[in-house]
């Protein structure tokens, strides 16, 4: 059954197994327009596996993924036209300049009026002075900003951010968070955001999903969820999910 077109992202009964090991175990969730959803969990919980499946670079064992109602397994190119991502483990080629990288990916994403869009993004992410600099010689924080600029090239309806502020200083990280919140507020897009910074998650996300051993254990508002489970903070809740998931009980 096709997913409702109102959801930016619809995940239904998604599984990924490697032999007997289930990396993602029957998860279902959605991202709605103007919503930032945090995907949280300890290392190895299945966050990146989930993101890779949404990006079409990893095939699910079973289940369905629809981006704006378009099934990625059937219409991959159409679904990914309105999607983009930034991840610390996927830097842009270091042997091209910032401007060259953005132009090449702008063409791949078939961005209309690309020259104008490039200028906007170079300004927005404070990259004007680096436009002729090869990405490989930028600092990790600057490279992250280039990746974010690439992720915004096509004004995606679904933006996937895998620890987008991991290598940024606090001031730049705050600017990036603000900029992404503005992006979400100004359009109809949604964001799936992974982070290990619980302060950031509380500041940015409208809703969080706690993933552990491939399953979604908890879902809710990051500001009220800790209290619902008798924890003082989101970080404390995170640690419990990571170490003693069976002890979790709602108040």
């Amino acid at each position: 059954m096709p997913a409702p077109a109102t959801n930016v992202l619809s995940i239904s009964n998604l599984c990924k197994s490697y032999g007997q090991m289930a990396a993602v175990d029957n998860i279902s969730f959605r991202v709605e327009p103007n919503e930032i959803v945090g995907l949280l969990g300890p290392n190895g919980a299945g966050k990146t596996t989930t993101i890779n499946m949404i990006l079409g670079v990893l095939a699910p064992t079973s289940g369905a993924i629809a981006i704006e109602g378009v099934d990625i397994s059937r219409q991959r190119s159409r679904a990914l036209s309105n999607t983009n991502f930034a991840a610390v483990y996927a830097p842009l080629p270091g042997n091209l300049t910032v401007e060259q990288n953005l132009r090449v990916f702008g063409m791949i994403y078939a961005v209309a009026n690309l020259a104008h869009r490039l200028e906007d993004l170079l300004r927005q992410f404070d990259l004007v002075r680096f436009r002729q600099t090869k990405c490989g010689v930028l600092s990790s924080g600057e490279q992250t900003r280039v990746c974010l600029a690439k992720a915004m090239l096509n004004r995606p309806q679904l933006l996937l951010l895998d620890e987008p502020t991991a290598s940024l200083d606090p001031a730049t990280a705050r600017e990036i968070r603000t900029s992404i919140r503005e992006f979400v507020a100004s359009g109809t897009g949604g964001v799936l955001w992974t982070s290990h910074n619980m302060y950031e998650v509380q500041e940015v996300c409208d809703r969080v999903l706690f993933l552990s051993r491939g399953k979604i254990l908890l879902e809710g508002n990051p500001n009220t969820l800790p209290n619902e489970y008798g924890k003082k903070s989101l970080e404390e809740l995170f640690i419990t999910v990571a170490r003693e998931p069976l002890t979790l009980e709602p108040n």
Binding site: T48, T49, N52, L55, G56, V57, L58, A59, R76, S77, R78, L80, S81, F85, A87, Y89, A90, P91, L92, P93, G94, N95, L96, T97, Q100, R103, V104, F105, M107, I108, Y109, A110, K150
Partner: protein, 267 residues
Amino acid sequence: MRFSRIAAIVLRQYYLVRGSPSRILPMFVWVAIDIVLWGFITKYLTVISGSGFHFVPTLLGAVLLWDFLTRVMQGITMAFFEDVWSRNFLNVFASPISVPEYLAGLVATSICTSSLGLAVMVTVATLAFGLSFFAYGAMLAPFLFVLFLSGIALGIMGTAIVLRLGPAAEWFVWPIPAVLSPFVGVFYPLSTLPNWMRIISRALPPSYVFEGMRSVIAGHAVPAHTLAIGFGLAVLAILLACWFFVQVYRYAVETGLIARYSAETVS
């Protein structure tokens, strides 16, 4: 297929080549050295044999045509390796670009780079050693076309091998033309080969080109069906190479190979 996505792959390669002498020089230097080396060998053979045999169009022409095929293949594999070396697979394959668009971009890149290489080879062979392409007559165009198609097929096959086996497998790809050359009779008629090698030769499209080339130089006509078989086999080779690439790509998506490509994955 979207033209802008194909053009993006070509533009990326143009940016890389434009700013890098280490990428520009191999396009010209190795082929020029090959032509110079074989040019002198053919001159020497002409002098010592005194038989009136046309060594220049037979040997030097064969070297040039074989180098052309090799350049076409390397044009594809080099553009692909740029994504391997810069660990760019995730960015490329998580974008809307389709496999046919990506492969078309690699082929378009190869057309540009191999054309430059061919121009250099022809210039050196003509000016320095008096090789005249008029010796091949009207058959030159179909000869080049079959070799071009064969180079495309080998290039796509090579990229699929590296995608499946990992970055270190590029060393399986570089020697492919050298491995094939004894079978396709670049320098000698196929009748020179033992039977078992001739069976393999008949399945390889370039064999028909080099046999045809020798026929033309000897003053005989090339039977149309011979070239048609070469052309048909070359098209079949491209289809098989594309099919193989798609199978490897599907395997890579099934197993997560693309997402963690930098790892060695021979298994």
